[in-house]
Amino acid sequence: MLQSALVGLFQSGGAYGLLAVCVVLIYRTTGVLNFALAAVGTTGTYAFSSFYTSGMNLAEAAIFGILIGVAASVVCGLIYIRWFFDATPTYRAGVAIALLVGTAAITIRIFSDEPRQIPAVIPGSGFSVDGVVLTPTSIAGIALAILFTLFVTQMLQRTRWGLQLRAISQGPVASELLGLPVRPLTLAIWGGSGAIGTIAVMIVSPGLSDEVQSISLVIVPALAATLVATFRRYWLALISALILGGLQGLLLYSQTLIRYEEVIPFMVVLGVLIWNQRRELWDEAR
């Protein structure tokens, strides 16, 4: 049973963690809950797979794939900056869902829905722990998620860019009036998130069904983790994501509980929402 949890933790936890921390970063700096992050990552990962299949070496294919993910994410960012810069959070969330669906549809159109094997971005057979094979890619996923969280928290707290981003998160229009480079910085965040989203999907997708829709929906557990972290706390988002990965692996072990595996992120979301509302009075919360 613990083996299954370990597989889930290493196979999915790192990727969920990267996505969750990235979602918090985008939300805190741009005010957008980016549902399309994994879809953009899927575009980059499909490009990586196509480049590799066409004969490019693994490292070059990965780099070009990440660049495609960055480009796709920057396009999403430009859409926000051009048309939804001052939009309400509700509008922004709606646009994010549209971008999720649109990006997935475009990815299928470009790359077709033919079966494909997405190669492990770090090749190698790994090693076995208690009967569980830990691949270099899955270990790198966990390590990368921890390093990325460390980088984000330190960057926001200790650098000039971090200070500017924090200011932008408090009020983009006011920050722009004060002369801060709001739009370039926002685009940089979108571009960086495209890279992280692509890396996360590259890590998790070799074990998943190769359908674009399935891969794009790895954003769901990541969003559940960000909700646990109240869209603010990076380390809590990471830890929640890792736990969710392990928990999903655990449920996959039980033939009775297996059918509830896909429900877990939604149960977490529901649980957190109910918990957050626990002190509300009926009339006020309505």
Partner: protein
Amino acid sequence: MVAAAVAALAAAGCSSSSSSSAGAGSSAGAAASGSPIQVASLASLTGAASFAGWQLGAKAYFDYLNKHGGVNGHPVDLTILDDAGSPTQAALLARREVDAGVVAFAGSISLSDCAVNGKYYDQQGIVSIDVGSDPTCFDNPNIDPVNSGPATDPELQMVFAAEDLHDTHICMISDAVPGEDPQYQAAVTGFEQVTGQTILKWIRDWPITASYAPAVTQLKNAGCQAVALPFEASGAVPLLADAQSDGIHNITWISGLALYAQSFLSAAKTSANGMYLGLEFAPPGAPGTAQMMAAFQADNIAPSEPEESSYTAAYVLGTVLKTIKGPITRASVLQAFRTMQPLTVPTMGTPFTFGTATAHHPNQAAYIVKINNGAFADYKTGESWLTIPTS
């Protein structure tokens, strides 16, 4: 011991010894010029789950038939209809075509045709020789599917592991596809009754969005020697890749028709080597498929199993139509099917039957191929059909 359907294969390969394996038309060489016989095919060509292209096999058969004399001089006019996956549209189109005078349906493959039109076909006395896309197609007196269905495939895969590969630790993993679990349960029950073995491990309802790595670990730790894998390529490719990266080489993977495609071989690469597939129809180039290959070539169709399935359905209908003496009507077609003898079909491993049964399931065989060095190869030369033992 598993009985290969050698007789069927031999009959299929003999071009002049039986009516079923003769040319498509009764007067080869002369194009049909009489009044056309109206036939329709209802498919979900667009929509959520598209069967685009599946109808080309039926079209190729009737094109070939018409060029070679048709049905006693009458050409068959095939109308292909797209219900876009909509039950409402499927119901409307079926009624429109019946009102327009079609005498039968052939090669239909729709998400909802059997479920929403089955009763109607029964009431109207119209025959549908269907590809068989869902379990309701196998439970109707007037619909007879040519494929082997979701229960027979995995059962055959497990029986093959037990009887031909002599494995004793046999497992299965099945996806969480709505409505399919009872079919898999029937497969497991059938396998256990036929072989006397008990399935070692069955992982059922695997979520299609979940990683396959935990499943691979479970199958390995259970000690499975062979695993039936009734999966689409989208699930099989990552699962096999996981098994390969985990260094698992002592499990034999056995799957079915869905993986019989060059695109699967290209995607799976070396991870599929050593795998077996049980096909519902004889693969292109197998004994008895010469006429089908000629028909496909004439229509510029690359042969694959989807086209073969509708070709087979059309072949059955065309062959039975030719036995009808007198006017070809809805009633005479139904009568011909009800009184027909078991029909040897070159692309099927068991004879096609209809009769007066309230449900039909004639295809009880699989043509076994093995994947060697990234290519499909016959499992046994000339004896690749596997049928479920009757006792």
